[in-house]
């Protein structure tokens, strides 16, 4: 299976791999996701009703409530959060939550991850090196 390797910028160190779920939207982890099950609840969002739990979550950036940092941390502790995060640019609210929850996070990839990665692709994040490997399905 061909593998695509993209270099980017380390936000949070650590390694994570799993199935990708991709959206062009920005996400508010407070008020936009149910922390009990990781289901996106924002009305009209591309992923509304889908779960991000245990996935490699690929999205534009953070937005909205600054409660998002503790919510992402809370989801990581409950085991309902994403395994890893890939952003165009990680906003400070998401970055702080990912640091607290030890969620491997990479941004500013050399190619637009929203175009290269499709939902269902198998993605490996090496947060330490700031590298993402993508296996297309």
């Amino acid at each position: 299976m061909p593998e695509i390797v993209l270099k980017g910028h380390r936000v949070v160190k650590g390694k994570a791999e799993g199935e990708a779920i991709v959206t062009r939207d920005s996400i508010s982890f407070m008020g936009g996701v149910d922390p009990k099950n990781g289901i996106i609840t924002e009305s009209g969002a591309e992923l509304e009703g889908k779960t991000i739990s245990g996935k490699i979550l690929v999205f534009h950036s953070g937005k909205g409530s600054t409660g998002g940092s503790y919510m992402l941390y809370d989801m990581a502790k409950r085991g309902t959060g994403p395994k890893g995060i890939i952003n165009i640019r990680t906003d400070s609210v998401v970055a702080i939550g990912a640091v607290m929850g030890n969620i491997a996070t990479v941004d500013q990839l050399e190619k637009n991850p929203l175009e290269v990665i499709r939902t269902g692709d198998y993605v490996i994040i090496d947060g330490d090196a700031g590298i993402v490997r993508i296996r297309k399905t």
């Binding site: 503790y70 400070s92 970055a95």
Partner: protein
């Protein structure tokens, strides 16, 4: 990132676990965003002050830090809690909500926070000055302090705001730097903006398009009120992640739109006319049924002027028996409302004050499920945006006079 000897010492653990953990958080953030050093801050507004926003994990973290006995270096105000400390039973919060929230609030208080839980700390005495570096959370307050007051903050989440309160520092990056404060996107407003919610509609529309880019508005009247700017910023921060906007001839950092762009061209120019105003407003109304369960005015928290207007509309009226009318504000603003006689009028009509909290940060999803509440009417674009996701209530959206009429009739027509 460059650290002073004192900061190295703080990071080493010599000054205790809480100081060490705070420096770790600030250095990690600074390294992510390539900050060259930290800068001192003496003013913090703390998000994650509600158990709903902090979650069990966040609450445990804050309480663990407080248990070390550490004291805040910075003057610190708190964002809304999950309960009204006097009327929580009447509103529908449980003993468990109250117990957990009092524990969390006490933890913040023991470190030195001022116990006035509000998203509008600028109405209650926390008023940073132009160019002052601060560390604020609460998306609507961030946009107010950066834009309307001209102070400088990044979008601080709970852990980084706590770290700044303790360490009295924040990493130098983002909105603390002049180059990141210039305008990026031009918005020409031709629609006639009348009520506060028209400003919410404008913010909601623009936030969705500009994502995190700083918008510059022209065409907004120079006598725009503080409540209108509050609504504009709250909506911009909800549909986008806008932390800073400029308004020609209104906000203090720029004298003209041209100056805001620093001789660069806008990345995009948007027109906001009658059609766009109508579109944004319709987009925020999701409810099908005409029956209303909850009416909420006060997201962000009401000013005393807004409470005066609500009292005026409720004089000699009765709220419908099927409707809960929630008026959200800071407890110190309610004290003033008591003195002015507004509280008596509102409560006599059947309205309920919700101080120190709001539907977004209270456990309203649980209350709605238990009591079978389905729809909410509000004049707030921010609350209408979050109502389904956070409260499981379908929103009706319109000006406050229309919301109060709905509270009286029990229907949205």
């Amino acid at each position: 990132m460059y650290l002073t000897k004192e900061e190295e010492n703080m990071l080493s653990g010599n000054m205790g676990y809480a100081v060490q953990k705070s420096m770790e958080i600030l250095v990690t953030i600074g390294e992510i965003y390539n900050a060259e050093k930290t800068i001192p801050v003496s003013n913090v507004h703390m998000p994650g002050a509600s158990i709903v926003a902090a979650g069990d994990a966040g609450s445990a973290f804050v309480e663990e830090i407080a248990a070390t006995g550490v004291k805040f270096k910075a003057y610190t105000t708190l964002n809304p809690a999950a309960i009204d400390f006097e009327r929580w039973k009447e509103i529908g919060m449980t003993d468990e909500h109250a117990r957990k929230q009092k524990k969390l609030s006490h933890a913040y208080q023991s470190m030195g926070a001022i116990l006035n839980h509000t998203c509008t700390p600028y109405f209650t005495g926390n008023l940073p000055r132009i160019k002052q570096h601060v560390a604020w959370g609460e998306s609507s307050a961030i946009s107010f302090v950066n834009s309307v007051l001209g102070a400088r903050t990044n979008r601080e989440g709970g852990p980084s705001a706590l770290a700044s309160s303790i360490a009295g520092r924040t990493p130098l990056y983002g909105f603390h730097l002049e180059e990141n404060r210039k305008g990026r996107l031009l918005v020409r407003v031709s629609a006639r903006l009348a009520s506060v919610n028209d400003y919410g509609s404008l913010g909601y529309y623009v936030g969705r398009i500009c994502k995190g880019e700083n918008p510059v508005f022209t065409g907004i009247p120079t006598d725009v009120s503080i409540d209108q700017l509050k609504m504009l910023g709250a909506a911009l921060a909800s549909s986008g992640s806008v932390a800073l906007y400029h308004v020609e001839k209104v906000t203090p950092e720029i004298r003209s739109a041209d100056e805001a762009f620093k001789r660069e061209r806008p990345t995009e120019t948007l027109e906001f006319g009658k059609e766009e105003l109508k579109e944004a407003s319709e987009d925020l109304s999701k409810a099908q049924s005409g029956e209303i369960d909850v009416v909420c005015i006060g997201c962000p928290h009401n000013s005393i002027y807004e409470i005066r207007d609500i009292a005026e509309l409720l004089k000699s009226q009765k709220v419908h028996s099927n409707v809960r009318l929630w008026i959200c504000t800071a407890s110190s603003v309610k004290s003033l409302s008591d003195r002015m006689g507004y509280t008596r009028i509102i409560e006599r009509a059947g309205g309920i004050f919700m101080c120190d909290t709001c539907p977004f940060l209270a456990p309203v999803k649980e209350i709605a499920k238990r009591d079978g509440l389905k729809t909410l009417a509000t004049n707030s674009a921010k609350l209408a945006h979050y109502a389904r996701g956070q409260c499981n209530l379908y929103p009706h959206y319109g000006e406050s006079a229309k919301c109060i009429s709905a509270a009286i009739s029990g229907r949205w027509d």
